[in-house]
C-alpha cells in the first residue's frame, strides 16, 4: 500500500517535471519574445516612477535626490489651496469632457460614413486625406491656423474686411479657444482614429446586412441595428482607454494656442506644471501636480473598467 503510494507519488513527480520541461521548451521562445517589451516597461515606465518620491521632498538639483529634505505632503497642500486650483481643474475638465464626448464620437461617425462609400478609389482617397493630418505636428497645425485667423494679416480676416465684414479675434478671444482646440483635435485625430473602427466594421458578417436588406431595413436602420451593436465592444474599450488619459490634454497643443488673453480658459494642469517645473524650477511641486494628475487618470480607468464589467462587457483587463 505504502509502496504503491510512493510509486504514484514518484510517477507524478516525474510526470510533472517532464511536463514542465516540455512546456518550457515550447514556451521559451514566447517568453523571450516578451522580454524586450518587459524590459522596456521596467526601465522606461516603472523605473522612472521611483522619481515620484521627490513630490514629497524639497528637491534641489545640487543637493541631489537623497539629500534633499522631506516635506511630506506640503506640495499637495499647496496645490489644493492654490488660488488657481479650481480654475485649472475647471479648464482641464471642460476640455477633457469636450474631447472625450464630442471628439471621441467623430472617428466612429467617419468610419461608418466611409464604410457606406461604394466607390473604392473615392473611399481610399478620402480616407487618406482624413488621416493625413495625424502626421502633422501641432506646431504646424497651430501655425497654419494662425496664418488664417490672425487678426491683423490672417487670410480669413483680410478677406472678411475686404468683403465689408468686421474682423474676428479667433486666436485671442477666450470664447473661441475651446472650439478652436476641439476642432483642431478632431481635424488632426479623427481620420486616424477611424482606422480601428473601419477594421472592425470590415469584420462584420455580411450575411447580417443581407438578411436585413431582405427584411426591408433602410440604410440607417442597418447602421443602427447592425453596425453600431457590432462596434460596441471596440467602442467601449477605446472609451475606457481614452478615460485613462482623461486628464491628460497634451501639453504642446494647448501651450501653442495659449496667450495672455485666453489664459482664463486655456490654463490647465499641463501648462501649470510647465510653468512651475521648468520655468520656475520648482521640480518637486511640478512632480506633485503630475502625480495628482496620474492618480486621477488611474481612478478613471479602474472605475470605468469596473462599470463596463458590471454591464456585462469585456473591459480592458
Amino acid at each position: 500500500m505504502n509502496q504503491i503510494a510512493q510509486q504514484t507519488q514518484n510517477n507524478r513527480k516525474i510526470d510533472h517535471s517532464v511536463l514542465r520541461k516540455k512546456y518550457l521548451q515550447r514556451a521559451l521562445p514566447f517568453y523571450l519574445m516578451i522580454l524586450p517589451g518587459l524590459i522596456y516597461f521596467l526601465v522606461f515606465r516603472y523605473g522612472p516612477m521611483f522619481g515620484l518620491f521627490i513630490a514629497f521632498k524639497k528637491y534641489s538639483p545640487f543637493r541631489g535626490v537623497w539629500k534633499s529634505e522631506w516635506v511630506g505632503i506640503e506640495h499637495f497642500v499647496r496645490l489644493f489651496s492654490e488660488r488657481d486650483f479650481m480654475l485649472l481643474l475647471k479648464n482641464t475638465l471642460y476640455l477633457s469632457l469636450l474631447d472625450t464626448f464630442i471628439g471621441f464620437s467623430f472617428p466612429i461617425i467617419i468610419a461608418i460614413l466611409l464604410n457606406e462609400v461604394r466607390n473604392k478609389y473615392f473611399k481610399n482617397s478620402i480616407q487618406t486625406i482624413l488621416y493625413a493630418p495625424h502626421f502633422l505636428s501641432w506646431v504646424i497645425i497651430v501655425g497654419i491656423t494662425m496664418l488664417f485667423f490672425r487678426t491683423q494679416d490672417g487670410g480669413i480676416n483680410v478677406m472678411l474686411e475686404a468683403m465689408g465684414f468686421s474682423r474676428i479675434n479667433v486666436m485671442t478671444n477666450p470664447n473661441y479657444f475651446r472650439f478652436v482646440w476641439l476642432f483642431q483635435n478632431i481635424w488632426q485625430g479623427a481620420g486616424w482614429g477611424a482606422i480601428i473602427y473601419l477594421a472592425s466594421i470590415a469584420s462584420i458578417d455580411p450575411a447580417l446586412y443581407e438578411a436585413a436588406k431582405v427584411d426591408g431595413a433602410s440604410k440607417l436602420r442597418q447602421i443602427w441595428s447592425i453596425t453600431l451593436p457590432s462596434l460596441k465592444t471596440v467602442i467601449l474599450i477605446m472609451f475606457i482607454l481614452r478615460l485613462g488619459s482623461f486628464i491628460d490634454l497634451g501639453f504642446e497643443h494647448i501651450f501653442l494656442l495659449q496667450n495672455p488673453l485666453n489664459l482664463q480658459v486655456s490654463d490647465v494642469f499641463e501648462t501649470y506644471v510647465y510653468r512651475q517645473g521648468l520655468v520656475q524650477g520648482d521640480f518637486s511641486y511640478a512632480t506633485a501636480v503630475g502625480l495628482f494628475k496620474s492618480v486621477v487618470g488611474l481612478v478613471m480607468v479602474v472605475s470605468a473598467n469596473a462599470i463596463a464589467k458590471r454591464l456585462g462587457e469585456e473591459g480592458v483587463y
Binding site: F62, R63, D153, G154, N169, M171, T172, F255, G281
Partner: protein, 519 residues
C-alpha cells in the same frame, strides 16, 4: 521632452533679446594690432605651463545664424594656447533657462556658462557656483576689469561674495527708430526731439498704417507693433509708467500701482488698437515675428538697437529693389506730463559662472582664458577672429574680412558668452570712421533719456516676489491686454491693480522696501 522643449521655445521668445552689443567710454577706440599690446597683456602664456590637457565644457546662448563647431579656428586657437579641449554646448536662447534646469537635474551642468538673474540668485545658496573672491585677485587683468568693489559685482551677490562675472555693457540699448524714406514718401518731416510727442508718434504710426508708405497699393503695413511688452516700452515710459519699480515719496513702488498713469497709457493704446494703428495681433507676436516685420518692409517705427540699422536696410533693399530704406534714430517720445525715457538695460546681468564642481586646475584654466580675454589682444581675437583666416590686410594696407568671416561668425562667443566691460564689442578692426561716429551718436541719443528700474536686483530678495510675482504679473498683464482690445473697460485697471496688491503685491512692496534698507 526634447520635442516639448522645442515647442516651448517657440512660445517663449518674447523677451529674450539680450545682450547685444556695445559700450561705454574708452572702449570705442580702434582695437590695436594683435601684436602690439604688451602693456596690457598678461603673462598668461608665460606664467603657467599648462602641462595637462583639460576638457572644458562651455555653454552659451544661441540666437540663430551659423553655429560654431568644435573645430572652429578660434576654438582651435584657444585649445592650443591654453592646452585645453573646449566642448561647446550652444543652446537656443529662448529655451536656455529651461535647458539649464534640466541639466542641473541630471547633474550635467557645464563648467563655464552664463545664467540669468533669477537662476543666478536661486542657485547661489545651493552651492552651484564657484565663489570667486579668492580666485579673481590672482588674475591681474581680470581683477582690473572687474574690481571686487565695482557695483555690478555687488548688485546680485550676497555681501562679501562673488559668484559670477557680470556683464557690464549698455546703459541703455534701444531707442525709437523711424523709416525716414517712408516719412519722405508721405510728405512728413522727421520730428526733432522736442517735437516728438506721443501724439506725433501716433500721427506717424497712423500714417504708416493707413497711407501705404511702401507704395505697393496694399493696406499691409503696420502702424506700430509690440510683442508682450518690449516694443512699446518707450511709449509706456512716456506716460510715466515705471520700468518695474520707481521711487515715489521716498518709497519704492511697482508699476502695477500706477493706476492713473496706466489709465492714460491704456486710453492711448486702446485708441491705437481701435483705429488699426497698433498691430491687431500684438498679443500673439513673438520677437522673431517682430523682426520679420522690420525686415520685410511692414513696420516703420519701432524701438530697437541701431546696430541692426544696416541689416534691416540691406534686407529691405534686397527684397524690394525699388525702395531706398533709411532708418533714423529718434529720442523716445514725450508724454503728456513731459516724461520720456528708454528702459535701462538690466545691470550686472547675465552673470558668467564657473561650476562649483570644477577642480582647481580646471578653474585656473578657465580663469586664465578669461584673464587673457579681457586684454586688448584677447578681445581683438575673440571678436575679429584669427588673422589670415577671418580677416587679412588688404593691398591698400587696410584690414578687410575674408569669405570665412560671415559663415564662421568669429565674434560669436564674444557676443554671447563673455566680453570685457564696455560696448566696443561690435567695432572691428575694419570698422571705419563714419561707423564709429554713428555708433557714438547713437549711444549718446539712447542714453540721454535713461529709464532705470529703481529696484533692479532687489526683487529677488523678496520671498513673495519669487513665489508669486510670475502669476500675479501674468494676471495684471492679462487685464492690460483685455483693456487694449476692448474686452474690459479702461476702469477695470483699478480692479486689476487692487487684485495685484491684495493677492501678494502689498507683501512684495513691503519686502522690497525692507530689502532697500538692508542693502
Amino acid at each position: 521632452l526634447k520635442q516639448f522643449m522645442k515647442t516651448a521655445v517657440i512660445g517663449l521668445l518674447a523677451f529674450s533679446f539680450v545682450t547685444g552689443c556695445s559700450s561705454r567710454g574708452d572702449g570705442n577706440s580702434n582695437p590695436p594690432d594683435a601684436s602690439a599690446s604688451p602693456a596690457t597683456t598678461n603673462p598668461s602664456s608665460a606664467v603657467a605651463k599648462n602641462e595637462k590637457k583639460i576638457q572644458i565644457r562651455i555653454a552659451a546662448k544661441f540666437w540663430g545664424g551659423p553655429k560654431w563647431a568644435d573645430d572652429h579656428p578660434t576654438i582651435k586657437f584657444l585649445n592650443e594656447k591654453f592646452n585645453v579641449d573646449i566642448k561647446l554646448d550652444l543652446i537656443n536662447g529662448p529655451e536656455y533657462d529651461e535647458k539649464l534646469k534640466v541639466m542641473a537635474a541630471s547633474g550635467s551642468l557645464p563648467d563655464f556658462y552664463p545664467v540669468d538673474t533669477s537662476t543666478y540668485l536661486a542657485w547661489q545658496s545651493e552651492g552651484a557656483f564657484l565663489e570667486l573672491t579668492d580666485w579673481l585677485p590672482k588674475y591681474p587683468n581680470l581683477i582690473a576689469a572687474y574690481p571686487l568693489e565695482h557695483e555690478a559685482m555687488k548688485v546680485l551677490n550676497p555681501k562679501g561674495k562673488v559668484y559670477g562675472i557680470p556683464e557690464v555693457s549698455w546703459i541703455v540699448r534701444d531707442t525709437v527708430q523711424i523709416r525716414k524714406d517712408w516719412l519722405d514718401k508721405l510728405g512728413m518731416k522727421v520730428p526733432t526731439a522736442e517735437e516728438f510727442t506721443v501724439d506725433k508718434f501716433y500721427e506717424i504710426a497712423k500714417a504708416f498704417a493707413k497711407q501705404d508708405p511702401d507704395g505697393n497699393g496694399l493696406n499691409d503695413t503696420i502702424g506700430f507693433a509690440g510683442g508682450y511688452a518690449i516694443e512699446n516700452l518707450a511709449l509706456r515710459n512716456a506716460f510715466g509708467i515705471a520700468n518695474e519699480w520707481m521711487k515715489k515719496d521716498g518709497k519704492l513702488i511697482p508699476h502695477q500701482t500706477q493706476v492713473e498713469e496706466y489709465t492714460a497709457f491704456l486710453t492711448f493704446m486702446k485708441k491705437a488698437y481701435d483705429e488699426g494703428v497698433l498691430d491687431r495681433d500684438f498679443v500673439l507676436r513673438k520677437s522673431t515675428e517682430l523682426n520679420e516685420m522690420k525686415y520685410s518692409n511692414k513696420l516703420g517705427i519701432f524701438s530697437y538697437h541701431n546696430n541692426y540699422k544696416l541689416d534691416i536696410e540691406d534686407a529691405v533693399k534686397k527684397t524690394f529693389p525699388n525702395t531706398n530704406p533709411k532708418i533714423v534714430v529718434m529720442a523716445p517720445p514725450i508724454g503728456p506730463n513731459g516724461n520720456r525715457g528708454n528702459n535701462n538695460s538690466s545691470f550686472g546681468t547675465p552673470n558668467r559662472v564657473i561650476n562649483a564642481k570644477a577642480d582647481k586646475e580646471k578653474i585656473d584654466r578657465i580663469l586664465q582664458i578669461l584673464n587673457w580675454w579681457v586684454t586688448d589682444e584677447g578681445s581683438q581675437i575673440m571678436k575679429n577672429g584669427i588673422e589670415g583666416i577671418h580677416y587679412k590686410k588688404g593691398t591698400d594696407g587696410k584690414w578687410q574680412i575674408t569669405d570665412r568671416w560671415e559663415p564662421e561668425v568669429p565674434r560669436f562667443l564674444n557676443s554671447n558668452l563673455f566680453k570685457r566691460p564696455g560696448t566696443d564689442f561690435n567695432l572691428y578692426l575694419w570698422t571705419d570712421e563714419a561707423e564709429l561716429n554713428r555708433h557714438k551718436e547713437y549711444t549718446a541719443i539712447a542714453e540721454k533719456y535713461p529709464w532705470p528700474n529703481a529696484a533692479m536686483g532687489l526683487e529677488n530678495y523678496s520671498k513673495t516676489a519669487i513665489a508669486k510675482s510670475a502669476s500675479l504679473n501674468a494676471k495684471f498683464q492679462e487685464a492690460v491686454f483685455k483693456i487694449i482690445v476692448g474686452d474690459q473697460p479702461i476702469d477695470s485697471i483699478k480692479q486689476a491693480s487692487s487684485a495685484w496688491l491684495a493677492n501678494g503685491g502689498d507683501q512684495i512692496i513691503k519686502e522690497i522696501n525692507e530689502a532697500v534698507k538692508n542693502k
